[in-house]
Amino acid sequence: MGSHGSHYEREAELDLILEETGFSRANLSGLHQRFQYLDKNKNGFLSQMDLHNIKELERNPLTDRIINSFFPDGGQCVDFGFVWVLAHFRPLENEDSTAGDPQKPKPLNSQNNKLHFAFQLYDLDCDGKISKKEMLQVLRLIVGVEVTDEQLEVIASRTVQEADEDGGGAVSFEEFTRSLDKMNVGHKMSIRILK
């Protein structure tokens, strides 16, 4: 749904987006407007700069990580496909309906995918594990400066140790999921307005 392509193509594209992301049309058009607003150069792409220019993001400690997650494979631009990323944060539908159809791929907003999105933010080197170092980096980002490096390191290793079940010294995705078992990730990682 960029600014190119014939009407027909765009319709097909739209349907695909709707189906895959699960957004409602209203939502999608809202997001499209947002997309166009963010796209300062009007070239149909969002660059990293475009996202960094969002003023509210300045204070967010995880900005870089999150913005990077919009640009898979180190790309510099993202088209309207950025709604796929946003789709992770759609609230879960009734839990029964997602469980009902094992054939279909899990929707983007499934609990697993939500977790995976978060997991990626930690797993910088993409080896499928959060090492202690990676944990520490995130901690450093989100914990206040008052906490000393030493404390952080201890916390990081303790966090890893807490989740690390197989003794690998790093947290795999399964362990990550299990460590958050008790937390209602489906609710926690959802944004009401993206419903």
Binding site: L31, R34, L38, L51, I54, E56, L57, R59, N60, P61, L62, T63, I66, F70, F82, L86, F89, P91, N94, F117, A118, L121, Y122, K132, M135, V138, L139, I142, V143, E146, V147, T148, E150, Q151, E153, V154, I155, S157, R158, T159, Q161, E162, A163, D164, G167, G169, S179, L180, K182, M183, V185, H187, K188, M189, S190, I191, R192, I193, L194, K195
Partner: protein, 881 residues
């Protein structure tokens, strides 16, 4: 507060109390005997030694007795777990009240004990609401604020209007017979019976344990609907007194405006007082004793102030509690926090008990009973039916916007949880009989409704919740992962909201937390508190404490045999003596560290249950440390009574200082251990590695300290360097800091002493504790000691790098203590990793030359023999290595 209120309600007194508490009749006489002689002079027969002045103490006396009865009743209820698990306490209390009221009535035929509105609103309600506000899970509350507000405002108005109107409609049809009431009276009644009652909801839901979202919605509604109730009640009350024909549209508009003024004003008052309270607690450092008082007084003032301004008092005190909690908890000391917590819970639960009991008692009064079957039954039907309808309609509306849908089951529970309670009763009693002609009917109906909802619904809600399989709330340990990732998720969500250009909860929360961090916390928190307020750090700290405490607990469990054999007094004495810890004990610390680490750590899981009241234990630990950690020579004035000081500030400061230092050291060493290990071992599981590391490291001081040769010592030192940063080792040796180990040691010891003197149940044999390497062949706990100062210890000590002869007393004092202490310490220090070892090492060089304490030496000589048990046992243990 409750007590004061009770005093004001002196009218409660009635002549027949003596029949009720016949057995207690003697008590006042006894008291009279002890009374001041100066009061006894009023008699006309000259001086009387003893007078009986019942009138003098009557009011407070009876109040105290009532409270006592209610509290005793609670004890009795809980004797049978079966009963309380089925019947809610509130229902039991009402029944008890009915019985007591019946007895009183039978004896006296005057019901002067009633729940008066003054008593209720001024003294019984505030503690309950404050408790609710102060312990409100804020995030949950504000996350569901929209829902709560809708139910509280629209729901209550709906309930009031429909109930009132329907009753009026039925009245017009003539079923109720002839009543002297008009539409406004019905609406007035509807408005006071509409509100869900926070006291009843809390009492019942606390026992049901539904999931937190459901709970917060019902409970939040019951708190926030107060503004609506107050306004509706006042509006209709004044309308009724005005007369139906004189009510104009302007009045109605005024009513609506007054709703906003009352609710916003109440909230504002609450927030202002919360601000004040937070600010005050920032500066209470030197008046720790009255610190908790501020919390209660200022919150109570917020209640009274908004009552004075005819705003919603419940809202005021709720918001006061909610807003101040973060800052107050950060500012006040650990002990004060505990005091506040317990006092608040005590007041609230006491008030609740009294409320329900008095509700029961109040019902026993034939003069207030006016029976009108149709009216009463229909009221019951209407409030239930309209509650259900209201909930369903509003939920349907809300579910369009809510992220977490409210299921049918939730709606059932919410409808069913619409309990009416003492607020309605107090309001209905407040009615003016001259204006509201059928006041008695209203009162009786309200009582019936309250009893029905509290007893019947309270009884059945538990089975209902179980039957419907409502998601229950679960209490669980905080996990670092959850905390950390939860925080990260918050950031992610707010970033996503920013990117998608929408303003939602996360955006607002983000904004607020920024404001809070930049402005509010700076203003309202002590500087020291600001630093340590990071939640993740807190969880970490908490977990560490838990570990430490469970180590201690484990140590007690296993090593307590040694304690038990010696009389408790000895322990106390030992505590005093051993505080200036001589080197032998340190050696034993490290020794134990090394030996017991693995077993203890592996047992962690089994200790879950011991961890319950971590904070309390923490408090105890701190407290005892304050009492007994004698960094300086013992100060006698500590034992003197002082109203204003629990312990000397000096000591407190010292302890704080040392505690912080210790924690810091611990963290540092933790780190260095990690670093060291990374070079040597790669594969093993992280914490296992640490354990291993620790074991190796902790052997160092042990080998090093009191015996063997200097070369041995040197070798160990080298070994240590292998495992940790050279810099860091240097740091330890250079820094003239030694408090850490002593501090911790004394802490552990105190806890150990405490629990072992108290609970002597653990009979785990001592040997179970010692590893194969550790042999205690010659040591038996009950082996008599010859009473001489231990000669062996100076020898062993001075043979090593300590040139000064150590005071024999110092070594001998802790002698009996040492074995057990070692055990507990070991556990405690298992967490310290090699740090402890290094510290022991480092501090030796600085604190070795201890001043002799001859007074203590003398004292030691006078002690019972058992407390001198075998100081040399320690040496034996060590020299074996």
């Amino acid at each position: 507060v409750t007590g004061l209120g009770a005093v004001r309600e002196g009218r409660l007194a009635f002549p027949a109390w003596g029949l009720l508490f016949l057995a207690l009749w003697m008590l006042p006489r006894v008291l009279g005997m002890e009374e001041n002689p100066e009061h006894n002079n009023h008699g006309n027969e000259g001086f009387q030694i003893v007078t009986f002045k019942w009138d003098h103490v009557q009011d407070p006396y009876i109040i105290a007795l009532w409270i006592l009865v209610a509290s005793l009743a609670k004890i009795v209820f809980h004797l049978s777990h079966k009963v309380t698990s089925v019947v809610p306490e509130s229902a039991l209390l009402i029944v008890l009240g009915l019985i007591l009221g019946g007895i009183v009535w039978a004896a006296d035929h005057i019901a002067s004990f009633t729940l008066t509105p003054t008593l209720f609103f001024f003294y019984l309600l505030p503690p309950i609401v404050l408790d609710a506000g102060y312990f409100m899970p804020n995030r949950l509350f504000f996350g569901n604020l929209g829902t709560i507000l809708l139910y509280a405002v629209i729901g209550t108005v709906w309930n009031a209007a429909t109930t009132g109107l329907s009753l009026y409609g039925v009245y017009l049809s003539g079923i109720m017979g002839e009543l002297r009431i008009g539409l406004l009276d019905f609406l007035l009644f509807g408005s006071l019976i509409a509100a869900v009652d926070p006291v009843a909801v809390l009492a019942v839901f606390e026992e049901v344990h539904v999931n937190e979202v459901l709970f917060i919605i019902v409970f939040g509604e019951s708190l926030l609907n107060d503004a609506v109730t107050v306004v509706l009640y006042n509006v209709f009350d004044s309308f009724v007194s005005l007369g139906a024909d004189k009510v104009t549209g302007v009045d109605c508009v005024k009513g609506i405006v007054s709703f906003f003024v009352v609710s916003m004003g109440g909230t504002l008052i609450g927030v202002i007082f919360a601000f004040l309270l937070s600010l005050v607690t920032r500066f209470t450092k030197h008046v720790r004793i009255i610190e908790p008082g501020f919390v209660f007084i200022i919150s109570y003032l917020s209640y009274l102030t908004s009552e004075m301004l005819s705003l919603s008092a419940i809202l005021a005190i709720t918001f006061c509690g909610m807003c101040c909690q973060k800052y107050v908890k950060a500012n006040i000391s650990e002990q004060s926090a505990t005091t506040v917590r317990y006092t608040m819970k005590m007041l609230a639960s006491g008030a609740e008990t009294i409320i329900f009991m008095f509700l029961g008692i109040s019902a026993v009064d034939p003069y207030i009973w006016t029976w009108n079957t149709a009216f009463i039954l229909l009221t019951l039907v209407f409030i239930s039916v309209y509650r259900v309808i209201g909930v369903v309609l509003q939920t349907w509306l809300l579910n369009k916007y809510r992220m977490v849908q409210l299921e049918i089951i939730d709606q059932v529970v919410m409808s069913y949880g619409g309990l009416r309670g003492a607020v309605a009763y107090a309001l209905v009693v407040l009615l003016d009989e001259n204006k509201v002609k059928e006041k008695n009917l209203f009162v009786s109906t309200t009582i019936i409704v309250v009893f029905f909802t509290v007893i019947f619904q309270g009884l059945t809600i538990k089975p209902l919740v179980q039957w419907l399989k409502v998601k229950k709330s679960e209490h669980r340990e905080p996990k670092l992962n959850e905390k950390l990732h939860g925080r990260a998720f918050d950031h992610i969500l707010s970033a996503i909201e920013d990117i998608s250009g929408q303003i939602g909860h996360n955006y607002l929360r983000d904004k607020w937390s920024n404001f809070d961090r930049k402005v509010l916390s700076k203003l309202l928190m002590r500087r020291s508190a600001q630093k340590s307020r990071d939640r993740i750090l807190n969880v970490f700290h908490e977990l560490n404490l838990k570990d430490a405490i469970s180590y201690v607990a484990e140590g007690e469990r296993r090593g307590s045999l040694a304690f038990i054999r010696s009389p408790s007094t000895d322990n106390i004495v030992n505590v005093d003596f051993s505080t200036p810890r001589p080197s032998t004990v340190e050696a034993s610390v490290s020794y134990l560290l090394r030996e017991n680490v693995s077993t203890v750590c592996l047992d962690m899981q089994a200790l879950e249950q011991r961890r319950r009241s971590i904070r309390d234990t923490e408090d105890t630990v701190t407290h005892h440390t304050l009492q007994q950690y004698l960094y300086k020579p013992r100060q006698e004035y500590k034992h003197l009574y002082s109203r204003h000081e629990l312990t000397s500030n000096e000591d407190e400061k010292q302890d704080k200082e040392i505690f912080h230092r210790t924690m810091r050291k611990r963290l540092e060493s933790f780190k260095s251990t990690k670093l060291g290990i990374n070079q040597t071992k790669k594969t093993a599981k992280l914490y296992k590695r640490e354990r291993g590391q620790k074991r190796r490291n902790s052997s160092i001081p042990n080998g090093k300290i009191p015996m063997e040769s200097p070369t041995h010592d040197f070798a160990f030192k080298e070994k240590e360097l292998e495992f940790s940063d050279p810099e860091e080792t240097n740091e330890y040796e250079v820094e003239p800091m030694s408090g850490g180990i002593e501090f911790l040691a004394s802490v552990t010891q105190d806890t150990a002493t405490d629990s072992t003197t108290g609970e002597t149940g653990s009979d785990v044999p001592l040997t179970g504790y010692s590893s194969p390497r550790e042999k205690l062949p010659s040591w038996k706990p009950d082996q008599p000691y010859d009473g001489k100062p231990p000669e062996t210890s100076p020898k062993t000590n001075s043979s090593q790098n300590n040139p000064l002869p150590v005071n024999p007393e110092e070594l001998g004092g802790p002698g009996p203590k040492a074995p057990q202490e070692k055990r507990t310490l070991l556990n405690m220090h298992a967490h310290l990793r090699s740090a402890a070892a290094r510290r022991v090492q480092s501090r030796r060089s600085f604190h070795r030359p201890k001043p002799l304490r001859y007074p203590k030496l003398q004292k030691l000589a006078s002690l019972p023999q058992s407390c001198h048990i075998l100081p040399h046992s320690l040496e034996q243990e060590e020299t074996q290595l």
